[in-house]
Symmetry: C2
Subunit: 481 residues, 2 copies
Amino acid sequence: MAKKNEKMVDAITSMDEDFAKWYTDICKKAELIEYTSVKGCMVIRPYGYAIWENIQKILDDSFKQLGHENVCMPMFIPESLLNKEKDHVEGFAPEVAWVTHGGSEKLEERLCVRPTSETLFCEHYANIVHSYRDLPKLYNQWVSVVRWEKTTRPFLRSREFLWQEGHTIHATAEEAIEETERMLNCYADFCERSLAIPVVKGKKTESDKFAGAVSTYAIEALMHDGKALQAGTSHYFGDGFAKAFGIQYTNKENKLAYPHQTSWGVTTRLIGAIIMTHGDDNGLALPPAVAPIQAVIIPVAQFKEGVLDKAKELLDRLLSVGIRAKLDDSDNSPGWKFAEYEMKGVPLRIEIGPKDIENDQCVMVTRHNREKSFIPLDDLETAAAAKLLEVRDGLYEKALENRQRRTYQCKTMEEITAVLESKGDGFVEAMWCGDEACEDKVKEMTGVGSRCIPFEQHEISDKCVCCGKPAKHMVLWGKAY
Amino acid sequence: MAKKNEKMVDAITSMDEDFAKWYTDICKKAELIEYTSVKGCMVIRPYGYAIWENIQKILDDSFKQLGHENVCMPMFIPESLLNKEKDHVEGFAPEVAWVTHGGSEKLEERLCVRPTSETLFCEHYANIVHSYRDLPKLYNQWVSVVRWEKTTRPFLRSREFLWQEGHTIHATAEEAIEETERMLNCYADFCERSLAIPVVKGKKTESDKFAGAVSTYAIEALMHDGKALQAGTSHYFGDGFAKAFGIQYTNKENKLAYPHQTSWGVTTRLIGAIIMTHGDDNGLALPPAVAPIQAVIIPVAQFKEGVLDKAKELLDRLLSVGIRAKLDDSDNSPGWKFAEYEMKGVPLRIEIGPKDIENDQCVMVTRHNREKSFIPLDDLETAAAAKLLEVRDGLYEKALENRQRRTYQCKTMEEITAVLESKGDGFVEAMWCGDEACEDKVKEMTGVGSRCIPFEQHEISDKCVCCGKPAKHMVLWGKAY
């Protein structure tokens, strides 16, 4: 039996040996995904999809509390519609999939499969927004989008991925900017509270903003290997799209005016972020808020009288207080089960055997640090709930500690190169003059690109890390997924 | 103010005048959908999408209680994969949308946008099913699919539509057949209990079954105009797909065997069924279980002191017992609001004005029959809950009565033609010998096609309605949406 256990653990590449391989091993072994014959697309398996459903549930509730409504737009965009906003089409046309035939007939106009839906929302807004009374519209949709990527990786970059895209339209620029910031904060709170992933909030540089946006905000997280991952974005469009699509409304002064728009989104990428932030060599480690199974009960010596009955009793008690619990009474050995649920990242393991029953207790083991406690059965529900909070906090602290350890303040290009070489990849905080040429040069010389201009600024120096001219911003730099 | 009200009501075509126009008027006026420049595709607006979300929530809970798990398959199917099962590809290839280019490059193999996902599930099952221990797999997904229809109508027939598709795989034929029937019953219960739509359960004839199926079961509903609508289908595949896709498992006797499969689905068509079953000349009438707003509170003389406060108090009380309530305190007139929420099909209207407050009461009006009651404020929650049950039952009874009135037993072709002409469209119950030629001839001569062979059989005669030979089944015939 121990052999089975070892075999399973052996099957994952260690993260230090090959982080990329470790990542895909977890995706497969934890049964999150399976490859398909559709290049660059994957099956999201039940365990992976249940994580996404939990993410959806929490975010969707937040969106609705903030007054947003869900809609559903077509998945196709006629080429002429995509072409209406110049910057937007330039950004997306090179990476869309084109439908050219319906049945055996060639289409008069080809249709792209949506890479994002600004154009469709704009067309709709032009139809339904006429007066200031029609504003704001706070819409969102949960769909999949397609971008024809050359190299793909499960969750991180695939040709089709799931996301939500919020699209809002407001009477004034102020309202729209406020919305852009509100949704970025909504994402940041979600990542930190529910996913236990610390994030840096900031603004993208000009060269890095969304095609068609006035400004793009993002949250950036640092993965276990020191690479950065953009976990969510929120865009302010000004009235550029409104002008391109002829969206006008009659304001309170009875004059025609252009409204202001935003869009914002997070994707199944968040599952990749969870894996690479919390996972370890034993597999996945899931934050309790989105874990499909929050607590697994594993009976020890389950063939002995009373063990399974007691285990079922514990299961019912946990379920009745709203904990997503599961009892594994299969005939695999406890050791095999321990390894299996560690691989699947279940936050809390509860063991119950004849001796425990005698002592009126059970054993609780938290996944992220493998700490073991003996819990009186009377305290089961309270202790389990407390342990789940502990797991969330523990995961967060560990991730924050990793980020802090790997965030470097640098005053010169040489310092950047040296610190990355000696300490490994991470976030670099360094000053920037605002010139795109310097941004490009930092990337070219040191390998790290600008991730964002953090809202929380502190001065590392008063000079641009690249050209030495007066600095405008502290920029967060990193290698990105 | 009354003028506004009248204007709105005038704007709908009456159902007797032009049922098709009445239908699309409701779709637009109740703000369920909006057209787009993507031919045959529509925007599902917030109010329409909220109905779908409620449908999803109830069905998804049922599916999960029956042990199903959600997954997500790619939206694309490579042409070679679609081609693997002969009958299936023949059924679907003529109506799929083809992606031929990714960015500026021509694809080596074209991809269709899924019209349904049997082929993808089969490929996946071939990868993950090896032993009897891996069976059954009870999977489902909530996605959109595309079928290149020539003529389209909102919800009833569109090039893209939303649905769920269940796909299951079992060790034995018996288990798979049981699943097929279980899911048909699940759909029928949902339609009758939650949507208040009576349905007939039955089996499709050979000529009408799903491409690649051994047998197809369906639930059929009768719309207000006497036309039939297929509200859900459940297919038994035998081991045909397993053989075509090379899915094999090692059974308990350690021998290789082919598993047996099913698939089943309902679509956003159900929203069309709700409209055409319950709607009237004042607009939509929604069954409470899926109504986005179950009760709307309309203050009368809301500018008078205390009215709005009392209305808000009622709102809070209804919300606190889980009733989806809304208070409309906009400055539109009560009359305008009455018409607006009748158009939107809100099941229960609650009016509260100064006189009501004096009498410690409110007025409740049920949408489907416009019956008015005075309710003591103390009884608000109980009365509202009871009224919502009444609405569900009232809608169901009305629909059942319509179906019964429009279900005709016929022994000859002449009887069919005569009854349809004198009483209008409806369900025809008539006997059939089982010969496809007779099935075709009935349709050709009388205009009604076979809808299904009802599970509940009764003998209208012992002879086929067409050829006079011995009858095998009573068939339900009708004109279909």
